[in-house]
Symmetry: C2
Subunit: 467 residues, 2 copies
């Protein structure tokens, strides 16, 4: 990792059994270990979506081409990435079907049918599904032609409610990043260039990876009335007047798995946050002699029983050595390794190794549940603190346009400045540094002299190279 981050990423995804390349260019196979992380992500978020009143539904993945074309910015944004079904059931189709790159159009077509009164609002829908955005350069989890995601779609009576909803979902994404993925993120507003095709405002959470590049980890959009007008969604308000609702959409994808890999990993492999790790603990029995086998396995099984509240795996393979197992589980990022051998049994202790800080300590067997719980909590916290420090320590503030370019070209990390929204200047930065305006952070509302203006003030902004 410390030598060649990209190569490390590509290798570790495969070595840790997270994913594999598929024979179809641009697509990937998510292997069981990688999929289990995604299931834990889903489980956390799905619960939060439901707690905030959203309901899951499912819409067809084939979208009539004419639908995509209804919202002008939307079709322009997605056209280069679309996959098209032209033949089905042995015939050429009259109208080609687009494989959804996102479902705004088909969902809003249905909303037009379902919404008629203010009593139908807010309409709060989420979908877990696959989507397709054609890619030639594949990067497992980060950039693939097909990926898995969730997309929320909502309709509200007022613009304020829609804004509140978009920000609420952004908060949930931030909470997930912090509390489950142990990744520090910056919540912010996207510039006009970077916003979603069809949105009035796009919010995102931006995380810093271990190579100091940015990763956009989730987005939440205010759509205004763009889609409700394009799809003629109307409701009669309390005065019986017809109105177009205000809408939002928001999503995160399997790219979050990529974030977890790149935010926490090291030269040895993954470091998974306990809250999302498929296995929180691996127990490795140490059996120096065959005669010890029964007694060790007996203790291992008792230990496993007493840790039933955690996700435990016992690695009792006989064809590989303990050292081989240690390496493998370190590579796979299991937060805690517990060794149990005859000496440990004699002392009534277990030997516990932490993946995060590589510390190794003996603990009494008697209080094992509390010990494990405490250690897992500490690891979760420690990973988050490291992520927070990485972000802080690798963010530079600059005061001028030339300094902005210079720092982006010479130094890894985020660069902050005050910026006057300006498309031309932003493209110039991209051209000269390949960095982009990641966001205008919500937490900093100061307005000071902009680096790209002689006299005008700008808003606090973050620039960085990004995935």
């Amino acid at each position: 990792m410390s030598e060649d981050f990209n190569q490390w990423y590509t290798e570790i995804v495969q070595l840790a059994d997270l994913a594999d390349y598929s024979p179809v260019k641009g697509t990937m196979v998510i292997k069981p270990y990688g999929y289990a992380i995604w299931e834990n992500i889903q489980s956390y978020l799905d619960k939060r979506f439901k707690e905030t009143g959203h309901k899951n539904a499912y819409f067809p993945m084939f979208i009539p081409k004419s639908f995509i074309e209804k919202e002008a910015e939307h079709v322009e944004g997605f056209s280069p990435e679309l996959a098209t079904v032209t033949h089905a059931g042995g015939k050429e189709l009259e109208e080609p079907l687009i494989v959804r790159p996102t479902s705004e159009t088909i969902i809003n077509h249905m909303f037009a049918k379902w919404i008629s009164s203010h009593r139908d609002l807010p309409m709060l829908i989420n979908q877990w599904s696959n989507v397709v955005r054609w890619e030639m350069r594949t990067r497992l989890f980060l950039r693939t032609s097909e990926f898995l995601w969730q997309e929320g779609h909502t309709a509200h009576a007022t613009i304020d409610e829609a804004k509140e909803e978009a920000l609420q979902m952004l908060d949930i994404y931030e909470e997930f990043a912090k509390q489950a993925a142990a990744v520090s993120v910056i919540k912010g507003t996207k510039s006009d260039i970077e916003k979603f095709a069809g949105a009035t405002t796009t919010y995102s959470i931006e995380a810093m990876m271990n190579d100091m590049k940015a990763l956009q980890a989730g987005t939440s959009h205010e759509l205004g009335q763009n889609f409700s007008k394009a799809f003629d969604i109307t409701f009669s308000d309390e005065n019986n007047e017809l109105q177009h609702p205000y809408q939002t959409s928001w999503g995160v994808s399997t790219r979050l798995v990529g974030m977890i890999i790149m935010a926490h990993g090291d030269d040895k492999g993954l470091k998974l946050p306990p809250k999302l790790a498929p296995h929180q603990i691996v127990i490795v029995p140490i059996i120096p002699n065959d005669k010890d086998k029964d007694s060790v396995m007996k203790v291992v099984n008792l230990l496993n029983d007493s840790l039933s509240e955690f996700r435990v795996i016992i690695d009792d393979r006989s064809e590989v050595s303990p050292g081989f197992k240690f390496n493998e589980w370190e590579q796979k990022g299991v937060p805690l390794r517990v060794e149990v051998g005859p000496k440990d049994i004699e002392k009534n202790t277990i030997l516990v190794s932490r993946r995060d800080d590589e510390s190794k300590n003996s603990y009494p067997m008697d209080d094992v549940q509390n010990t494990i719980k405490t250690l897992l909590d500490e690891i979760q916290d420690n990973l988050y603190k490291n992520s927070e420090n990485t972000l802080k320590e690798n963010t530079t503030h600059v005061e001028s346009f030339s300094e902005l370019i210079e720092v982006l070209n010479s130094k890894k990390g985020f660069v902050s400045c005050f910026w006057k929204e300006n498309k031309e200047d932003e493209l110039k930065i991209k051209e000269e540094t390949s960095a982009t305006l990641r966001c205008y952070p919500l937490e900093n509302t100061d307005s000071e002299k902009a680096v790209n203006s002689d006299s005008e003030n700008g808003n606090f902004a973050i620039f960085s190279k990004a995935y």
Copy 2:
């Protein structure tokens, strides 16, 4: 329902807010209430799959055309139903991509890469996904061009292990049907005509709907070495010799929602089994006068709190009458309705109506958790018993070929007979009655004189019209 079953089905699916037609011919939208049933189905089955050692993974939905063509029977079976992507990313593709109708081919391509030793076996994978089989005649949940399902794919060292796996998964489907969906099913083997394209043996569970037609509710296939040979999957056995593994695949789909509707519904609407119902209980506050509102709602909220182990919805809409609500929730099949009004509060009771048998009784408020639990269990049992009785009472045994045709043409329901496997005879039955050989039930292994042979014995078989 009693007058026109098909019409009833089409209407109730929409009236109960389960699903809607989509603008793309042949596809459907699964609305939140229908999707919540599917989530409960998923949750039950996913747990059982994991308990039996299977792991979830995700494979690309686009399959190279050449893959589909590798297994001769497989391509023949699916060709008429395929949807093809010819253009993507603004270009015509060199090789068209098929949208998966099922994933045997892509998964087995990957298995060939992942399996090399007997230590890699058994490989036990499941996928939750969408699939596409082009349909012109849509029936919501039962026959749509795109549907949601799970598909298990496994590889084993021996033919016996593969058979055991296929039967184990069939048992899990049966257990689900009985214990969760409250539907009586027959486990059996498919005839050669009806088996899966590429399988050596197909097992299914067959259920009887309330119009006495059959519905194939789940299938489990032994694939033999058909795919492992076509995709060159090999493993070195314990003697270090290269072998092709034996395989299985098995699946159930959103058609199970259709099964639940048609197995339990009546003229008033759905009857959902408590184990799968999105709402097990609806509480309807009865507020004769505005002055009662606070006191009634206080009790309703307390009641709701004390029923937190159940899935409860409070219908406190003020714009519709209690009678309107009663109809709506009956239509939606909620197992229990609880009314709370000033009179009930005075007597410290609740008024509970069962959807299954339409009984209505008062119960003391004090023991409400046990009361509700008992009632829900009774409803679950009662629905299953009704399903079992329907199946028993509408199955006729026949002794001759002419009688088989006559009964299939004159009477609703299943017809059993002893049948000598014979493609020509089976097609003749289909032509003359539109019924098909549903299965050779596993529980009846008798062999008696076949209705389609002058002298030879046959196996016990079930014929029926089917969805």
